[in-house]
Symmetry: C3
Subunit: 321 residues, 3 copies
């Protein structure tokens, strides 16, 4: 998508958002934080219908989108598990489902287990498609809310040091975040991961090509003292065939109260959630524990995107203002 | 239901709708096509609650009803799989469930695997019951939207030639449509079906008794050139015990770009959806491919029915106007 | 919760409601019965969002809460089966889920299979938690609607005779109702249960300590003639390992047309529903069959609680008025 030439039609790939586009979304998200129930701003999507078409369950993401639509006065048609049900089971293609559902709704939030599904949906849809995660592929609203949280917590996106911890091989969020951060000058990334789930070469090469400094270390304590953002992720049991390596990987990098002593006073801990035990609960009360604020930021970013897709006709002129 | 003596209380059986009733619904549906978000017409069901009570999943039908209610400003209480859950599993009768849910909602949309369920529900309900399909029984809103689509596409319901293709033995939609079409003079029906799923005698006898001309042929190309409406249906795998006959039946009558060359310029292709491969996707771009418009017409017809059941107190006087 | 010192923050345990608190809720519920669609009263929760977080299905309770929220103009984010899905399956704690969902909603209705879950949720939540049943533990809105129904049907809660029938060992509703009734002077309770599911000693001791007269008899007909309220419950098959004792227990105490001849003219039959065959359907038409009115009262009580939690800032001063 050439952002400067087109309106915000679909939200399919985080790579579609250049810095100007991200700025527009974030300015809007900031306004969303201030909307109060009953105010005129809480009514801008009055009469609009959003359908959530979830082929795999994701309660958190679904509720976040549905809350975003409701907070702007819109209405939601909800599908918790479109895959196991009816039309898909009878052999209907995603394209046909989208062409039917667009008759019922003004935009479609799609979650699918197959990479590229959102793009396929957008190719046939006459209403905006918002990608809520397509398998190992994209989850652009997560990437945007991660960026937004860094902006809100640290105050900038340039010249920041980010430590990424945990399952970096399979974690969709850290992979996307790396790519998004490469748009900003002076970003430095440090990877800390158990051997079996180290960050893959494709992302490392991407960063190198764009001049982003990255390093890989094995000592979490070494990293914790230098970063602005410590981004922890869950070790996903389903990725391991052997329970011994799972348990070794899992227990290796825990963020606990001890580690928080090393973290700089202005730094924050982020996590895409759900968490299991890779951040101990005694960290929650620390003001630098930003993960629940991060979850709430997802609401504001999704409100902003829904407003930009549906109510505003955002185009090149808006970006130049 | 004697339409001329009663208000539109329930929508249970397509046989309850005589020509006058159909006309009232269609006049209303036509108005629904013009409603815009935020207009006073989009608020006529403000404050009303519709509950969808689905004992078997049907995402398409549920979303269509829920969208219809939302487009008129009403609210929805949704149940995706009432059967597998709670009360029914504990042995509660449908009647008890209906008498409970009517305390929470102003109308109930019911989908059930058992024929006659909607009628049983209507017998005890103090709020309108709308049948969204009861097993091999009725699916009256589908029948009405099929009629409405023919009216909108061809311009009339009298003196039309309709070809019905595919699984005519088990297809609830084609069976209902035949019965509804018999109300209109000059209708001619041609059946084209694999041997194992030919139209049953009950419907043929019904048509004969009402003076509707029908024929049965084996060559789809012969039919395609003469009809106003070519109504294709899906061969339902679950009806076959033997995969060889399924595959034979399935591949026999396909509507593709070649066949569209034979179809008259004013004619249309309809399909209740979901489709598998009985219409090839290269037909979709043809303006005579009416199936996605047909799906959208379901929205307008359901909006009309909800308005007539809830907001209007439609009675004999309205029909005489 | 010290009701006189605190506002109505959470609804977790029926034991939190003293007589003054019950009175406030019931005064509000009475007003709720008169609210009509489109009136200003039907808009008091406009802009508020309620999330239903159901870890086990309970269609009836969920729809009742969702209807209550809708009848007051609020919006609902619905989760039919939070347990089987996503975050919980990945090992997220209830506390983390609540801290995430409170970012999306203004109150959370929680149903959980584990006793004490609602209390755990309330301990971390910054928004009101409403307990919709936590396993063998509490179901406070059911207890309140039972009390409300007695008040509405009999006209008082003091000096009443209540017969409790059926599965008294496992029935959460009868256990809670006993405890709530002990707040009122002059209450007499008679238990009628098959041997294997007799009322447990903890409740009996509780009643004795609070000076509530209770007896246990084996003849339902003896009880039926003397009580103001006959509260029937379902024998739960899942509690029996042996089908013979289940069938014996199940058929022993049936309320039918014959038994209704013994019941006093002013007395009523109650049942938490769903019913199987412990009340025959020919009783339904009897004006003393109060169970469907009881279900509807659940709506009014839940509307009242939602309004008190969200719109009103009910505190000690309100109780003194």
């Amino acid at each position: 998508m050439d952002w400067h030439m087109q309106k915000l039609k679909h939200v399919v790939d985080s790579g579609d958002f250049n810095r100007a586009a991200v700025d527009v979304v974030f300015q809007e998200a900031l306004k969303m934080e201030k909307i109060r129930p009953g105010s005129p701003e809480s009514r801008v999507l009055d009469g609009y219908i959003m359908s959530t078409l979830f082929y795999e369950p994701s309660t958190r993401t679904r509720l976040s989108f549905e809350s975003a639509m409701s907070r702007l006065g819109g209405t939601v048609l909800s599908t918790e598990s479109a895959g196991e049900y009816s039309s898909a089971a009878k052999g209907e293609t995603l394209e046909d489902t989208v062409r039917t559902v667009e008759g019922y709704a003004d935009c479609i939030v799609i979650r699918h287990f197959q990479e590229g599904s959102a793009k396929r949906a957008a190719a046939v849809a006459s209403v905006p498609i918002l990608n809520a995660g397509d398998g190992p592929g994209q989850h652009p609203t997560q990437a945007l809310l991660d960026l937004y949280t860094i902006q809100r917590e640290i105050g900038r996106l340039e010249n920041i040091k980010v430590g990424m911890v945990g399952d970096l091989a399979n974690g969709r969020t850290v992979r996307s975040l790396c790519m998004c951060l490469s748009m900003y000058p002076g970003v430095e990334v440090t990877f800390v991961a158990p051997d079996v789930v180290r960050m893959r070469d494709d992302v490392k090469d991407y960063l190198t090509q764009r001049g982003v400094k990255w390093t890989e270390v094995s000592d979490l304590r070494e990293v914790a003292g230098h970063v602005d953002v410590l981004y922890q992720t869950r070790i996903q049991r389903e990725r391991f065939t052997d329970m011994d390596s799972y348990n070794a990987a899992r227990g290796k990098y825990i963020i606990d109260k001890e580690l928080m002593k090393i973290l700089q006073p202005h730094a924050v801990v982020m996590h895409p959630l759900p968490r299991v035990d890779e951040i101990t609960t005694d960290v929650d009360a620390d003001p630098r524990a930003a993960y629940f604020r991060q979850a709430r930021n997802g609401l504001y970013v999704r409100m902003a995107l829904l407003k930009l897709c549906l109510a505003d006709k955002m185009g090149p002129d808006d970006l130049k203002k």
